[in-house]
Symmetry: C2
């Protein structure tokens, strides 16, 4: 809050490589990895997973298996489940039947790494279209600057994460936030795509790549707005349900 | 040209920090620093400056003065002329009267550094609204992948550089280029802002900062489309006029 102590900042970080440009210590950070890590985390926490432990490397996942044999292990690289793991990033794996009461150790290509780079933030929460309005309602009443971190794809800018950041900006912008240029851009891109986000995203190269992986149903699932109300929040090294 | 050898890539790099994500060696790079370095460079080369030598540090500028006393020195930090230098980044300093036949050594906060980070590119050219169509007409007939590098503000994303990248994408997109997500986004932002770019940019924090520096006239000047036709190109360590 450098310029105006009466307003909070609403900033958007378009790639994990840009996180060092922000003073994350003074922000609440929202991690965004729409296809599919943060969508699945929101769905899993909504469906009573006890906790989801995000880790950066597959080896860390395996280390958990050796000591905590009741944990479920989820790992994905390049959009595919790693061999020998319980599941990957598909939200359909995070149903109540599968994850209720369970702890899941999760590593993904992008989301987990963005999360680790943000670990000094005041709070870290998880966003996706699934919990959009619940998340925004909570963010509105916080007294801290907010940083929306787009996990991107291998550190590259991507449209789906940016569009979601724009959806958040769209809900918050009339509540006396100072927007940085990336927040303005994200909001305007959301305005351009909001009438049919799935259709809008079809023109991206990423959609083409995901289509090749045969996960169109996952994509459709991840673009559902307000299916859930739980907000996953980082508590130590575990993502748990935020208690309002 | 990994996916389709028949089409060229048209990529947009939204911050100098993201340059390492691209294989610059295989691209023609366009450096973009609309307010105001690349606008002034285009204007200066149009106005018969013999060459503009971009350097990263003020000390390098000073070193030139000691050996090449007839060179003009231009340096700017945080949007202001550095004391003791001939001029800074204002395009009004780059008139024929002032720069015709002269060599200028230039250091700026953002543009020069983006240029140095791209130095392994096949070719490096300079873009601004001033030479937009001339630049696009040249890019259309090149047989290489293209990377539009937004210099940004202290490595942060900014809207004015991205909007110009979008203006380039807008002119090229029907010529069989593969766009990355950032190119799609830049184009859509340009679509949102193109009817009045100056008005569109007024909502940015950067505009507010530049306004405080009293350079509104520079801004208006830099947003003029197709005032010039010269394309500055890097030849060794000097930006000179591209000979078609």
């Amino acid at each position: 809050m450098t310029n105006d102590s009466m307003t909070k900042a609403l900033n958007v970080c378009l790639s994990p490589l840009l996180i060092p440009l922000y003073d994350v210590e003074s922000h609440i950070v929202v991690i965004i990895d729409i296809f599919r890590a943060t969508s699945s985390i929101c769905y899993g926490i909504e469906n009573s997973a006890e906790a989801i432990i995000p880790v950066a490397e597959i080896n860390e996942c395996i280390a958990y298996r050796d000591t905590q044999t009741h944990y479920l292990l989820a790992a994905e690289r390049d959009g595919k489940v790693v061999e020998g793991f319980d599941f990957g990033n598909s939200p359909f794996s995070y149903t109540t039947e599968k994850v209720g009461g369970k702890t899941i150790v999760l590593t993904t290509t992008n989301g987990t790494q963005a999360l680790h780079l943000s670990r000094k933030a005041k709070k870290i929460v998880i966003g996706s279209f699934l919990n959009l309005t619940a998340l925004c309602n909570w963010l509105k009443v916080q007294q801290e600057d907010i940083l929306l971190v787009c996990a991107g794809w291998k550190n590259n800018f991507n449209l789906e994460d940016t569009l979601f950041a724009g959806a958040v900006v769209h809900q918050l912008k009339d509540f006396d936030f100072r927007l940085d240029d990336a927040a303005i851009a994200a909001n305007d891109l959301y305005e351009a795509g909001k009438t049919d986000i799935n259709q809008y995203l079809k023109k991206t190269s990423h959609a083409e790549r995901l289509k090749k992986l045969g996960i169109e149903k996952d994509i459709e699932f991840c673009l559902q707005v307000d299916l859930t109300t739980a907000i996953p929040i980082l508590d130590g090294d575990r993502l748990v349900k935020l208690k309002n």
